[in-house]
């Protein structure tokens, strides 16, 4: 359930929309309306590029409820090119290929499912960056 809880974050989940601080220029994700760099108000939405690199990673073998179908999966901290870091799953990746510093790009995928009849959540995951597209 929790429909409203997920609906509220749709711009963040589907289009990686953060905020820009006009005082110091910092890009902010997740949006928090206050710039974490200079503590000034930061309200203006900005869509982030979805490009970044792996800061760290692990593999989740014992998945929480709703994520069982995908286990095992790679979870990573992604450092975005605009500066902010976020937590996301890696997808479409060869397990032997995952390393710290690996360039990645955002894609939209199914995140979790509440049982057979429950809500399906979609959102961002990251895959190895496809060079041709980036160029």
């Amino acid at each position: 359930m929790h429909i409203a809880r997920n609906w509220r974050v749709k711009h963040q989940r589907y289009s990686l929309t953060g905020e820009i601080c006009h005082h110091c220029g910092a890009k902010v994700f997740p949006p928090r309306d206050v710039c974490p760099e200079c503590t000034q108000p930061a309200y203006e939405p900005v869509r982030l590029s979805g490009l970044g690199e792996v800061y760290s990673f692990t593999t989740v073998y014992e998945a929480p409820t709703g994520f069982e179908a995908q286990a095992p999966y790679h979870l990573a901290l992604i450092k975005l090119v605009e500066g902010p870091m976020l937590t996301a799953q890696l997808t479409d990746v060869d397990p032997n290929e995952v390393r710290i510093g690996m360039p990645v790009e955002m894609v939209t995928r199914k995140l979790s499912q509440e049982g057979d009849e429950g809500l399906i959540q979609y959102g961002y995951k990251f895959r190895p960056r496809i060079q041709a597209k980036a160029a």
């Binding site: 692990t58 409820t65 979870l75 937590t87 710290i100």
Partner: protein
């Protein structure tokens, strides 16, 4: 403000205590602490607990326990700060006595984690993380710590094996603690072959899911001699809480526990002491990596070199900075909301000279540190034993 003393301690064994409900665990620890302090009543009871609503279906916990120990009528309230709930409750108790609002305060930490299936307990623990931006992406508590450990190994060029001295030390110390969950020693070989849960973290890097309760009795220092029959009085020389972002990804430098740095620096200032004065450190070894990051942030080692305190033996009972002297979270066990009080109970045992086979010869100043989430709430206490 008045100085505060700890004049009573009590604890239950830690483990899978199926025959005890959460109220009975709380009861046993509180009664033991009251007996140790020689008191029949108190002005207030503060209970540190994280998951009673989620896992036991019971909130309003402090009032329930107050009634069950025969203290109906007194002030009671539960305090929650994830895995730091125990120390957060202690801090409330210290403020109540220091301010003069109360004279005799009981602080308990209670947690019941083994009644529920493991996936429910795991989901409960994940409540300490950011629901919208960590948990919604599939993060578990162990996975978040695993990413810190992975990055540490990458940044400082250390191997997983280099962390082994931390759980080995914890298990060695738990051997002589009758309240500990795991009293059998482990070897390097066993550590290296342990089942991996979220690489690089394996089962022996992680503290166990378990039940337990512990309690202390606080009074104004000037009245401490009226309570208990103990040769040494334990003074609370510092009590400090500091915070950081809940989500690891929101931190400028995920490998630096800023809240541990802030709370320990403020605690050193309050006590008029420094890291070189600390005789033992009951730190929050929920995962091996947390021990290392905590030692670095609290000034016991430079960045990237906390791991060497394990290799050199400095963290053992005979070393320069003994940690987890009664088994720590790893081997005594980590009943989350109770842990902060267990740490203090064990520190008091050391300062009183009641630590049995694990007694340190020169235990005058002890530091305890309880961590909520993956470094978001960090509470540091410094305790001093006085003749």
């Amino acid at each position: 403000m008045r100085n505060v003393a700890i004049v009573g301690i009590g604890q239950t064994p830690v483990g899978e205590l199926w025959e005890k409900s959460i109220r009975h665990l709380g009861h046993d620890a509180v009664v033991a602490a009251m007996h140790d302090a020689g008191i029949e009543t108190a002005d207030a009871l503060y209970v540190g607990n994280m998951l009673s609503g989620e896992l036991a279906g019971q909130e309003h916990l402090a009032t329930l326990i107050a009634d069950f120990v025969g203290l109906r009528g007194i002030e009671a309230a539960k305090v929650e700060a994830a895995c730091a709930s125990g120390a957060a409750a202690l801090r409330v108790g210290v403020m109540a006595v220091a301010s003069g609002q109360a004279d005799v305060v009981i602080v308990a930490g209670v947690e019941k984690m083994t009644d529920t299936p493991i996936d429910e307990t795991t989901a409960g623990l994940a409540l300490a993380a950011d629901q919208e931006y960590e948990v919604a992406e599939g993060a578990t508590f162990v996975a978040l710590n695993a990413m810190l450990m992975q990055r540490y190994m990458h940044e400082y060029g250390v191997s997983h094996r280099d962390f082994a001295p931390f759980p080995i030390n914890a298990h060695a110390n738990a051997r002589n603690n009758p309240f500990a969950m795991f009293r059998s020693p482990i070897t390097l070989d066993k550590y290296e072959k342990a089942t991996v849960i979220a690489p690089p973290i394996n089962i022996l890097d992680s503290s166990p899911v378990c039940d337990g309760a512990a309690a202390v009795v606080l009074v104004p220092l000037e009245r401490a001699r009226e309570f208990g029959r103990h040769k040494r009085i334990v003074r609370v020389a510092a009590s400090v809480t500091a915070t950081d972002t809940i989500a690891i990804h929101d931190r400028r430098d995920p490998l630096f526990l800023e809240a541990a740095y802030l709370s320990s620096q403020r605690a050193y200032a309050q006590a008029g002491l420094g890291p070189e004065d600390i005789d033992l450190f009951e730190l929050h070894d929920a995962f091996s990596i947390m021990s290392v990051l905590s030692l670095e942030a609290c000034g016991f080692a430079p960045r990237g070199r906390g791991i060497e305190l394990g290799q050199s033996g400095a963290i053992t009972l005979g070393g320069k900075i003994p940690i987890t002297t009664m088994g720590g979270l790893k081997a005594r066990g980590h009943p989350v909301g109770a842990t902060g009080i267990y740490q203090v109970v064990e520190a008091v045992q050391q300062l009183r000279g009641e630590a049995g086979a694990n007694q340190l010869p020169h235990a005058h100043v002890a530091m305890t540190q309880n961590i909520g989430g993956s470094g978001a709430t960090i509470i540091t206490h410094i305790l001093v034993g006085e003749e």
